[in-house]
């Protein structure tokens, strides 16, 4: 679908929605749409990312196809979000990666694994990939600490800068001027609570007509991911300040956080994929579904390879598993600016704008 068509299509559909308003109770998007009598490009990018894809409005709508009005808000919103992800990808030349997410994820993960494996072979010799390593600093006999740190920093900075540049342009294009302590606070609360996956109390329309399972599973993924990040940071802390070298004992902070987070992530991602596989496809956009599976796939691989590394770290497989895990993580970071990961960023910005708009309306 062309971008112009998306704007015209959303304008057409929201004209019906604004006359109806029955879906007002599901989420913030309909309230925001009512403030707009005609939809322009900036409105599309804003409203599409304010939509949390709970799909309740599809289930509730008496005008869905084959009705002449052919209303399907979740599908057009999903298409518009794919458009946002591609348009605000930086550098913009790489925006086309958004269109082929599975190949991109697979290729980067494989390239990552190959790079790490080659690095290990170069540093510690090819046999290190299947030789047991034990004792403090075992991992650093496979890869030098400085190289690991530099690579991790470089990837993180690259991803953060790309995402930040896109976010800046996105915020400008949807109107700007909405960032304040109050609007950020509201947005943060709504983002962490996943308020708009509640469907006004009904949940999400997925396998069943309305259920809370997607919101719950999303919570598992989010907090699992954060726990894994925290595990990494705590490991760095133990190393730098307590001078304890990895691998850490099972009862240590990094391992407990990492294991708990990994299990939550693995279960949450698997659950989300299962729900998606059994959901009604009519309110979906196939390109968004492809982005979802590509991101879920990398997350699941990250979690499972991390858990495998922990389970088999004292065996001969440690070298190969380290290469696989670090390679997948590298793939996750490199593709983050060009895949579903960015939904969190644009949605948070849209929530912030909505908080600002609603506060102004109330004032």
């Amino acid at each position: 679908m062309l971008e112009l068509d998306l704007t015209a299509e959303l304008d057409r559909q929201l004209l019906v929605c604004n006359a109806c308003r029955y879906c007002e109770g599901f989420c913030a998007m309909f309230g925001a749409a009512q403030l707009r009598t005609a939809i322009g490009d900036g409105d599309v990018a804003y409203l599409a990312n304010l939509c949390h894809d709970c799909r309740m409005c599809y289930d509730a709508c008496m005008f869905t196809p084959p009705h002449a009005y052919a209303i399907d808000i979740p599908a057009v919103m999903a298409a518009a979000r794919v458009d946002t992800y591609a348009r605000y990808a930086r550098p913009s030349l790489l925006g086309r990666l958004v269109r082929t997410p599975s190949s991109v994820s697979l290729a980067t993960a494989l390239a990552g694994i190959a790079t790490v494996a080659l690095a290990i072979a170069a540093f510690a010799g090819g046999a290190a990939l299947w030789t047991p390593q034990t004792g403090p600093g075992a991992f650093y006999r496979l890869l030098p600490y400085a190289a690991l740190l530099l690579a991790a920093l470089a990837l993180t900075v690259y991803g953060a800068v790309c995402v930040a540049l896109g976010a800046r342009d996105y915020a400008r294009d949807i109107g700007g001027g909405f960032v304040s302590a109050a609007s950020l606070r509201t947005a943060l609360h709504e983002a962490l609570a996943l308020t708009y996956l509640k469907g006004g109390g009904a949940g999400c329309y997925d396998e069943q007509r309305a259920s809370g399972r997607r919101r719950f599973l999303h919570g598992l993924v989010f907090w699992g991911f954060l726990a894994d990040l925290a595990a990494t940071i705590s490991a760095a802390f133990e190393q730098e300040f307590l001078h304890l070298l990895p691998p850490y004992p099972l009862a240590s902070v990094p391992v407990v956080l990492g294991t708990g987070g990994g299990i939550a992530l693995a279960l949450g991602v698997a659950g989300l994929a299962a729900v998606k596989r059994h959901s009604d496809v009519r309110p979906m956009d196939p390109r968004m579904v492809a982005l979802d599976y590509a991101f879920l796939g990398l997350l699941e691989l990250t979690a499972l390879t991390g858990l495998a590394l922990l389970a088999f770290r004292s065996t001969g497989a440690v070298g190969a598993l380290l290469a696989i895990h670090l390679g997948v993580v590298a793939g996750l970071f490199v593709t983050a600016p060009y895949g579903k990961f960015v939904h969190a960023v644009y949605r948070f910005i849209a929530l912030t704008k909505n908080a600002h708009e609603q506060a102004n309306l109330a004032a």
Binding site: L15, V16, N18, A19, C20, R21, Y22, C23, E24, G25, F26, G31, Q34, T37, M56, C57, D59, A60, C61, M62, F63, T64, P66, H67, A68, Y69, G200, G201, A202, R209
Partner: protein
């Protein structure tokens, strides 16, 4: 023809009243078969287009704010029907409505705050989350979970029986005739507003210009089957609730989004470009309720609402943008009106608007015209600020009042005045017993829910006795 199956209670219809009956009968232990004429994605009849239900309550509850005493509810009903109602049935409905919010919640229905633009209903009406299709979806889920059998695309053809009893239902499904033997039958299949030929019997050719706001499946087939079985008619056959809708609306099923809310803000002219009724007579909802019939009586059953740039954004928009032009003459052309006639009408109207009035919307502000027929009694302001706007209007039929007489247990009454033993009616096909004319927002669902539950209870009791 397949073998005749047997079931305790057959419910004909698939909207709110039918579902309330089916769930209630099933919960009372009866085996229940529900025959819905529509395919699954269009199930739910006109319930799909509803959003709120009128409920009496002594104190705030999950559904509504404040208190809405039964006496006030009854007064509201008398006001809209001009005092004409079956008082015992009306009082029964209003009394039973006090239990509905809790019962609906038990079936899984969720409530929300009143929608934008409907604050005046916050106290009297409960708004269910997501509107009427969501309500129907919730009821279907509950009914199916309880073990109600549902057949879609099943059209009732006849109620077969004798001596005040119905023995069998004949229905059609996938071009096959089916029969089911029923212990008791509940008919809750709506009115006949979607049968334009039937409307034509009372409205002549005008009926072919009516827009039907609801489901195309409400053609009154089950109503006719009840008459054929000997049920007593009630209600004015010409009676229909009819509002002004956008002429560009689809012939059927446009629901709430085709409603034109702009009338009090400008003037309305017929296709000769002449005004014909006081656009500022009264506040919501009367202003909707009268305009459908007014337009139905004009040439081609058509009219146009005309306003100017001053009132843009002051009313709830419809699903169609108004026609727009920089001059009245150009606007007239777009709307199919004679340019000179529209200019003359607007000039006369503008000259009659008293000077130095400041219009206040939302109250009867007394800003009236002077020396013009018909007058505009409130919100009269000159139409003089381009661009000019216009909506083409048609009558949009919401529901019909014609039905069957029922008693306080929802038994259908036969033409000799005795109730059928095992035939019950609920919803639009009997609402005329109580709401003989006029309109009270959310009251159709109240009647349907109360009588659906009464019918389901009595039908299950009879079938299992």
């Amino acid at each position: 023809m397949s073998a005749v199956s047997e079931v305790d209670v057959v419910v004909c219809g698939g909207g709110n009243a039918a579902l309330c009956a089916a769930i209630t009968a099933r919960r009372a232990g009866a085996s229940v078969l529900l025959l819905e004429r529509a395919p699954v994605h269009l199930r739910g009849g006109n319930t799909r287009h509803t959003r709120d239900i009128r409920l009496a309550h002594a104190e705030p509850n999950a559904a509504a704010t404040g208190a809405y005493p039964e006496a006030e509810f009854f007064d509201d009903l008398l006001r809209v029907t001009g005092g004409e109602t079956n008082e015992p049935l009306a009082r029964l409905t209003i009394g039973e409505s006090t239990n509905l919010a809790a019962w609906m919640s038990e079936q899984g229905v969720r409530w929300q705050r009143p929608l934008t633009g409907t604050l005046q209903l916050a106290r009297t009406n409960g708004f269910f989350l997501g509107g009427g299709k969501q309500l129907a979806n919730t009821y279907y889920d509950t009914a199916l979970r309880l073990g109600v059998q549902v057949e879609y695309e099943a059209t009732v053809r006849a109620l077969v029986g004798a001596d005040g009893r119905v023995e069998q239902i004949v229905y059609e499904r996938a071009e096959r005739e089916e029969r089911v033997a029923a212990g008791a039958v509940v008919v809750a299949a709506g009115g006949f507003e979607a049968d334009v030929e039937w409307l034509r019997e009372y409205w002549g050719d005008a009926a072919s210009h009516f827009t039907i706001r609801g489901t195309p499946y409400n053609t009154g087939i089950a109503l006719k089957a009840m008459y054929a079985a000997g049920a007593r008619r009630i209600g004015d056959p010409r009676g229909l609730h009819c509002i002004a809708v956008d002429a560009r609306a689809p012939r059927f099923d446009g629901g709430i989004v085709t409603r034109i809310d702009a009338i009090p803000f400008g003037i309305v002219v017929d296709m000769d470009g002449r005004r014909f009724y006081d656009e500022g007579e009264d506040l919501w909802p009367k202003r909707y309720a009268i305009w459908g019939k007014l337009i139905a009586q004009r040439k081609q059953q058509s009219a146009c609402a005309i306003f100017d740039a001053k009132t843009v954004g002051k009313f709830i928009p419809s699903a169609y943008r108004p026609e727009r032009a920089d001059t009245l003459a150009a606007l007239a052309t777009r709307l199919g009106l004679n340019a000179a006639a529209l200019e003359r009408t607007v000039a006369e109207f503008n000259a009659a608007v008293k000077p130095r009035q400041s219009v206040r919307l939302g109250v009867l502000d007394g800003c009236a015209t002077d020396g013009i027929t018909p007058p505009k009694s409130n919100w009269a302001q000159r139409i003089d600020t381009p661009p000019y706007y216009g909506y083409p209007l048609r009558p949009g039929v919401t529901f019909t009042y014609l039905g069957v007489e029922v008693d306080a247990q929802a038994h259908v009454v036969a033409s000799d005045g005795t109730p059928f033993e095992n035939l019950f009616a609920a919803g639009e096909c009997m609402a005329g017993n109580i709401l003989s004319r006029g309109y009270l927002a959310g009251f159709g669902l109240t009647i349907g829910s109360v009588f659906g539950r009464l019918a389901g209870t009595a039908a299950a009791r009879y079938a299992r006795a």
